[in-house]
């Protein structure tokens, strides 16, 4: 036994660190339009290759090409562009509001706007998302009021969650947006349960589960795959691979598997990998997976390849763990600019109209913010009361909580 060399411990390292040169040579990017599109009822065994490629529609010239070009009109795409612009503006304003002390915490979507915005459009109105904190586009693209989002962020008197939740942990059943948990991945398996329930009830509604690259390591991810596979639950299992989990590069969660989509293969779940910065590709793949679920063909795993251009949250500073310019070097570009380029290319949009739209959107967001602030911010104005703290622990206040509330005198 001692004739073999001794064992060595292996810890994956990212291609570069602060001070180094960003290096994405390991991200193999197929040409737009080059990946095939199987029928939605094709057998999972027949499409394993799709877990190791990247489905792309928009090419460098801003043209939509190949079998995945979706059936979206220029109006649809303009609406999508507007959603992404709104989300980016919303992020910027709320990031600043946090810096100004108007709330405790915020999380941005910069660089990942296409994923949630395009997915929402592909989904039906009664379907249910089980999102993470980085899918506010699901609300914005469904016209959930910005003011309500902001009131939640400010934990003010109109906060639908009555001050109880950390900022951005929205919940809106009416908008198909499940209550966000601060505990990573717990909602992933719940989405499968929701989908199982829909099937048990012979309903038509499907569920969409959301998780980040880093969070796929959690147990709930496995449980979700097991149950989805066994009961063929009508669910789309989304993995947003934005390359980072706080300071940890995706190689730590991914290990030797090559891709996160590959995780689905071991469960006989069709797994697709898509350019997450390509609005059209995201929409097309989402439609495909949603149709599979709706037609009772079972779950699909979708990995969105994107990049977290900003900090993890307002508590984070990425310059401590990755090269400053890494974001600029990300080879899949900016989802917003790529869609804009496409719209300009097909003659549906122009620089001037874009500048004008930017201004309009800023006005809308600022107006919403002003309105939200009339209901208070975290440390000023009116806010949820200590009484709100005791309610909703149970449907009815039990005796011990009644005593405690009395002690507080509210």
């Amino acid at each position: 036994m001692t004739d073999t060399p001794s064992l060595r411990f292996h810890v994956p390292e990212p291609a570069s660190r602060p001070g180094g040169k960003p290096d994405f040579s390991n991200v193999v990017i197929p040409k737009a339009g080059s990946v095939r599109r199987p029928e939605v009822d094709a057998a999972p065994e027949e499409m394993r290759d799709l877990a190791y490629s990247i489905i792309r529609v928009l090419n460098r010239d801003g043209q939509a090409v190949g079998p995945w070009v979706p059936d979206l009109s220029p109006e649809d795409l303009l609406r999508g562009l507007r959603h992404m612009m709104t989300l980016r503006t919303f992020d910027a304003r709320m990031q600043t509001a946090q810096r100004q002390g108007k709330t405790s915490f915020y999380m941005q979507h910069t660089g990942e706007e296409a994923v949630s915005c395009a997915f929402r459009i592909a989904l039906g109105p009664d379907d249910m998302n089980f999102p993470t904190y980085r899918q506010a586009g699901l609300l914005i693209a469904h016209d959930y009021p910005l003011v309500d989002m902001m009131c939640q962020i400010y934990s003010n008197e109109k906060d639908p969650l009555r001050g109880r939740q950390l900022p951005v942990m929205y919940s809106s059943k009416a908008n198909g947006f499940f209550s966000i948990s601060g505990n990573l991945t717990t909602q992933y398996v719940q989405a499968v349960g929701w989908a199982m329930a829909s099937a048990i009830r012979n309903d038509h509604r499907i569920a969409a589960a959301w998780v980040g690259d880093g969070s796929t390591a959690e147990s709930d991810f496995h449980a979700a795959l097991v149950f989805a596979s066994t009961y063929r639950a009508p669910v789309v299992l989304n993995v947003v691979n934005n390359q980072w989990a706080i300071s940890t590069f995706q190689g730590i969660a991914r290990g030797g598997s090559g891709t996160f989509a590959a995780r689905g293969l071991g469960f006989g779940i069709p797994a697709l990998r898509v350019d997450g910065n390509d609005y059209l590709a995201v929409y097309a793949v989402a439609r495909w997976a949603i149709e599979r679920a709706r037609r009772n063909l079972g779950p699909t795993l979708v990995e969105y390849v994107t990049y977290r251009a900003g900090a993890h949250s307002t508590s984070d500073d990425p310059s401590a763990y990755r090269p400053k310019s890494e974001s600029a070097d990300w080879p899949l570009g900016d989802p917003l600019l790529r869609l804009k380029h496409h719209l300009v290319t097909i003659g549906a949009w122009s620089e001037e109209r874009h500048v004008q739209a930017e201004a309009e959107i800023l006005d809308t967001v600022v107006a919403a913010q002003k309105q939200a602030e009339t209901f208070g911010t975290l440390h000023s104005g009116s806010k949820p009361s200590a009484r709100d703290m005791f309610e909703d622990v149970y449907a009815e206040l039990p005796p011990h909580l009644r005593r405690q509330r009395q002690e507080v005198g509210v």
């Binding site: 639908p160 969650l161 209550s179 505990n183 499968v192 349960g193 149950f227 909703d392």
Partner: protein, 338 residues
Amino acid sequence: MARMTMIEAIRSALDVSMGKNDDVVVYGEDVGFFGGVFRCTHGLQAKYGVSRCFDAPISELGIVGTAVGMAAYGLKPVVEIQFADYMYPAYDQIVSEAARLRYRSGGDFTCPLVIRMPTGGGIFGGQTHSQSPEALFTHVSGLKTVVPSNPYDAKGLLIAAIEDPDPVIFLEPKRLYNGPFDGHHDRPVTPWSKHALGEVPEDHYSVPLGKAAIRREGEALTIVTYGTMVHVAEAAVAETGIDAEIIDLRTLLPLDLDAITASVRKTGACMVLHEATLTSGFGAELAALVQEHCFYHLEAPVKRVAGWDTPYPHAQEWDYFPGPARVAGALRQIMESR
């Protein structure tokens, strides 16, 4: 009225609930075709179909996690964890999710589910088939925790749990499944068919959550207990002749504090009795509450009798289990110390 074991009573509660409400869905490991390792779900798949009662993969996390999603959808999942000792993989879903969904969503989503699990020792099950983890639930805001001590209550409480709008942990003392075990492991157990509380209505009824039962009225001291220990207490009281009042909590949370304080104020002394490990057990909460609310009535310290602070051993089962001899000794000690 019929004579039922606790297993039959639980099965009947599930049957009545599934019959009444299509939203009730039952699943867990070996729960479907086979009907559960303790047979509590036997016959339900045949009667209600595989969509209403089915086998689950061996993932307690997955069982509870999917149940949270189903409950949020609008169904009423009643899931089984094969032994309470195996609930830990599901603990995150119970504590962080089921218990807090209503609160964190401002009532937008709710989580009305029931998680059943057999608890307690006395079957030579060793450390992974004997645990009583109730204190790990009572510490968690948003959960209700129920422990029946007999077939009548088991059915009525389970129906109440299923009809409750909040997540309920339903702990089934497995040593009581077939008869009122009183800790005399060397004697044959009387079957439930010979016990008054083995008489169970076949139809729908419920026993309200949050209400204790006085199993024996007495003047000398109050024994606060639940589950298997109710019967051990009864045996110890009979053997010592000490005129204790025995309170069977039935629901640990919400707790029927009024029943406890009324009794202790009357008797002036209190023993808290459970099978779970002593330190940080639910008995600690009970003792803390009793001394707080009955301080000026207590003539002796509240005495806790509980499992030792060790894992549940196999061969030493009866050294570990707080049986009638230990309970009797503690009763005498309280009486002497006054």
